[in-house]
Symmetry: C2
């Protein structure tokens, strides 16, 4: 491991500083993690980590309370926001029973409450005097927010809203922290005033007594039980039986109900989207770090694990599994993806900041592009991370299946991101709706967002009349040599051609049909999704390349070189990787020939060889502590087998069997095995 | 749900009988499942299933003992083998702490022990007087069996073997039932006699006292802890400190050590492979049923779950998510895969029986093909099932993430099949080694297994000299209409062309290199694996088509029709499905044009429409009991929301909070939340 660590061609600390935004941030983050891990005893990784020894539902939740409280209080005390969206273990802060306060509750207040309401509630929340949840999803309603059934009916006589769950499917179900930890929730319910239904609005509802935690009258609360992961928190359910709240508890930043029940919409209704866009941006970032975690573990394990004779079939030594090309290919393409995601999430942040800046000036012009970008990157990054983390786990063979490997938990944690906060298949369709709108505008000769100009520029098929033609036929790529394909302009041309072609094909199919819009959309959905994915992959590659070209001057040449190689590997391996989703569309129109693909394959092999010395440096750069990885396979020291046996020997089932019963698990032997053996004597 | 159930075009019971091999088998299986589920109280699915309420490591193991004992004893009492490889919940019987006895222990005895040894041990094992494990894998050694480090050194003075684990990495690690339930194990250790190392051999070792379960002197045993799944059993570790066993405890069916320590190999050493081949065949079958389970749940949920307005955007009713084409496509291509896997596993069974029949006559001629077939189908089916079950889970959106959905457990259970009993990337290479051997033979003008004749027949590039040429260029497919592509001969031609092309390309690349064999193999590994996968996909399609053409006359036309449609859907959707691994190789040489792909896409859409009435009938046909699915989302009645809330309300954390503390989870409130809220007052 030390040998592999020293083989790196660049300073991994320099890259760490680049990843986290500067040396001072890295140092402050390390200090914060150090304080929390010390406080909780997690820093001593020779001890079996708490979750592996305490495995039932209640214990998992208590562990979440322990970590969540420590992280929240550290942020308050030391005035940082490191763990507002990302827990100290690099999961979405939804995993903390205190985490929704920062992740959804406060942002929603900022965007949707009136100034007076904000000044009333935000200080309580940010000082930890209340714990907030965000209750939108219902048992029967997720993606389709308009379908939400919980009602908030205005009672003019008492100047109150009556919150009610009339049906089984209207029970609030899933919100983080709702089960047993939050005291308040922003509840999304249909606003009804003077018998008129105004659709979903936000209401502040106190759920529990601050004194003893009991649910307030008319409110039933509970836990949804174990999930595949996120069991440190209590995703919960809530039903409301005619619960009354004052009129002033409706969030009135964008709409208002007057004393007489009259309803008025005001402000920028688009701001409603802001929490959602921010959450999706955060998800892309979390997916990045989680994939990086999984790959860090798999890389360290692959360097240490030996199996088979490798290059020298006569040797009595076995070889590191990293030597095997399939492992080498899988690990490094995953590393490249994790960095591509990092750059993509930065693009997302920058775009979101631009949007918010303009929105503060009352200008929503960036909203459509930002909306489609965050939706698309969310879908793309979570799918890549979910599939990638699972492949990283499989790269660790049998041992990757142990819970103490840490990978199962990472995979389970990251995979929900594909479904949560906008299901990915819904997200792709939102991207395409925006794509099609741009194509409509182009066809009408109108201007489109400059970031989308490639649809025109990359498209030689827009005739002089400005209307898109139906297909891009018989275009082929001129590149032949490895040097050609190493050129980022060529790489980008491949992705651009595919994106434009698929967008036009889907658009033309939809526009030329005579069926109803809903049916024609549905009939063409597979091509519509392909088009969205190709667009986002083009945007991802473009932003990766742009950011490498514009690295700050402080970045040293070795770091720039390794990032350039990763970018090329990302672009090219994605075309020829058998696991790439939708790779067929790179070649099905004949744009790339079989010979060109062989050249790409050969160049990918070269890049893999150039990158192999940097395996450990590239993963060390993420700066994960051993405690945050919580993995017997992935510790910095590479002492895989010692760490496995050390933790396994500390498992309570083994400790008890040894200490109390000379190596027998007594409840099992006494009640089941012994009777079984003796039954037939 | 009832409406969807009655929409079927065929009798699902007829298909059930076909799946399980006849009506009497179905009836006997149902009776056996009924007895066990009744005995354990699992039949009443209005009660929260035991594993969802008892969630720690110890409780999971006790649950496994309960089920394992019931299944084993039912088989003994009623003289059936239904649960020898497949538990009553349709997982590999490794999941039972008693299961390795039937799955590995007894088969190994049959293949590797002498007749005398068999008559000594098999009666003990089959009557449940001992419980067996199979201990091969070590902490440091999995795929590479030759690397195993545990030693069995013959001590001539005492006529004993000394079993020893000299190193950390030699500790036996992973074997099912080793931790706390087995009494005996067949231990694989390097045989050393007269200072000579004869490599890995099998030894019978008693591990625990039959009286009180304590480990015998010199033996340390324990549990490896929680895994992603299979927590009903105690996968364990074992280390041996100079443990002595009589010489007669070496399995002497294929090799013998005499009193003086002299070593003699005898019998058919190839029989050594038999347990492995049988296990791989069983894995393909288990993967089939597990994918079918996941798809059954996802199909039922998709029929019931409504979201969004669907085709009529103005309607106030929401539409079943099955209506959405992406869902429709995903669900039905998964159904088609589950049936393709069923037929593939039958091919595997038939081939294995042929092999065993010939081996009993001393003839090993079928071994190479059978070996490559079981390896390839194992890798193919477990990857399809692992990815497919996860996609089925994602098809259930957020609710699929609940443990009570049952899908998380299925995904975790099936995913290990990709790693266990031959890691898939190792399996693919074994397939290619056989492929290349066939191409060698063809080049030398020798005959090859008739099942591989397609390499010659499908390959117009074998010149008159009989030597394969380097590539198949400029061949294109003549088919144009949907009717053409609906023809199974055309479908097969597409898969055959691809398989031959990739095999020749990889073979030629390997043969034309001047590097060392290990290096040239490694350099070309990605194409070698592509070739293996394409070969197996061709074999799978061929066997699916063949078996449909040769259905027994008793099969009714509607069943034949629906299977034919599924087969076409399987063949064609695999080409254009964005998620298909390696789909690019169908088109990269220009064999299929863009227009042809559009025709295929259109035909796939037609097939999806024809199949939609059969969604429920096709999944009901697997005949899964509600108890075996253990899913609140996937019960036969389709009452998803009622079942979710019913189980959630019975979760111990909710029951206790309600009963004892007016809705408060007291340990959490008292120790963490209350102090948090009050800290800053």
């Amino acid at each position: 491991m030390e040998k592999a660590r020293h083989a790196g061609t660049f300073s991994s600390f320099e890259l760490t500083c680049f990843i986290y935004g500067g040396e001072s941030v890295v140092i402050e983050r390390r200090a914060a993690l150090g304080r929390i891990e010390n406080l909780l005893g997690a820093h001593d990784t020779s001890k079996l980590p708490h979750p592996y020894g305490n495995t039932n539902r209640e214990e998992a939740f208590l562990e979440g309370l322990r970590w969540g409280k420590a992280a929240f209080e550290d942020g308050m005390k030391h005035n940082h926001d490191f763990f507002d969206f990302l827990t100290p273990r690099y999961t979405l802060s939804n995993a903390s029973p205190f985490g929704m306060t920062k992740a959804m509750f406060e942002p929603t207040l900022r965007f949707c409450a009136s100034a007076e309401q904000q000044s009333r509630w935000l200080p309580l929340s940010s000082s930890g005097k209340i714990i907030g949840a965000y209750a939108q999803t219902e048992l029967g309603h997720g993606s389709f927010v308009r379908g939400i059934e919980t009602t908030a009916t205005y009672d003019r006589e008492t100047d109150e809203f009556v919150i009610n769950s009339a049906t089984l499917t209207s029970i609030k179900f899933w919100p983080g922290a709702l089960g047993f930890s939050c005291t308040h929730a922003i509840v999304v319910a249909r606003l009804i005033t003077n018998s008129q239904d105004h659709g979903p609005h936000h209401f502040m509802v106190q759920l529990r007594s601050l004194e003893d935690g009991t649910p307030l009258p008319g409110i039933s609360l509970g836990d949804v039980g174990l999930k595949l992961s996120y069991n440190e928190t209590c995703n919960g359910f809530a039903s409301f039986d005619h619960v009354r709240i004052p009129r002033t508890e409706m969030l009135m930043g964008y709409a208002k109900v007057a004393r007489n029940g009259s309803y008025e919409r005001r402000g920028h209704p688009q701001l409603l989207y802001s929490t959602m866009l921010m959450a999706r941006g955060a998800i892309t970032k979390v997916a990045t770090f989680q994939l990086a975690q999984a790959v860090t573990i798999a890389t360290r394990y692959s360097v240490v694990r030996e199996q088979g004779p490798g290059p020298d079939t006569l040797s009595s030594f076995e070889t590191s599994v990293m030597w095997y090309k399939s492992q080498h290919f899988r690990i490094f393409t995953l590393i490249a993806k994790s960095y591509a995601m990092l750059f993509a999430s930065r693009t997302c942040d920058t775009q979101y900041e631009k949007l918010r800046e303009q929105q503060d000036k009352g200008n929503d012009m960036f909203l459509p592009y930002t909306h489609s970008l965050t939706a698309g990157l969310k879908a793309w990054s979570t799918q890549i991370a979910s599939d990638g983390a699972e492949d990283a786990r499989k790269c660790c063979g049998g041992h990757g299946y142990l819970m103490i490997a840490g990978l199962g938990e990472i995979v389970a944690t990251v995979t929900v991101l594909a479904t949560l906060e906008g299901e990915n298949y819904v997200m792709w369709q939102q991207v395409s709706r925006y794509l099609f709108k741009c194509l409509d505008y182009l066809a009408q000769g109108k201007s489109i967002d400059p970031q989308m100009a490639y649809l025109r520029d990359g498209n030689q098929q827009f005739s002089s009349s400005g209307r898109p033609l139906s297909r891009m036929s018989s275009i082929t790529l001129g590149a032949t040599s490895e040097a050609d394909f190493a050129d980022s302009n060529i790489q980008l041309a491949i992705y651009r051609h595919r994106a434009v072609r698929l967008a036009l094909a889907a658009y033309t199919a939809v526009k030329s049909s005579k069926e109803s819009p809903a049916n024609v959309w549905n009939e063409n959905m597979m091509s519509i999704i392909d088009a969205a994915r190709a667009h986002i992959e083009y945007i991802v590659l473009r932003s990766f390349i742009d950011q490498i070209h514009n690295l700050p001057p402080s970045i040293s040449p070795p770091v720039k070189l390794v990032l350039t190689r990763l970018c090329s590997l990302f672009a090219l391996s994605n075309i020829i990787n058998p696991g790439t989703i939708g790779a067929i569309s790179f070649v099905e129109d004949g744009y790339l020939s079989s010979d060109q693909l062989q050249t790409i394959r050969s160049l990918v092999n070269d890049l893999l060889k150039q990158l192999i010395p940097d395996a450990i440096a590239l993963t060390d750069a993420w700066d994960f502590t051993d405690a945050s990885l919580c993995s017997a396979l992935g510790m910095k020291d590479g002492n895989v087998y010692e760490n496995i046996m050390n933790w396994v020997n500390q498992l309570p089932i083994n400790v008890r069997a040894r200490a109390e019963n000379k190596g027998v698990f007594q409840p099992g032997w006494r009640d089941w095995i012994d009777p079984f053996l003796k039954a037939r004597l």
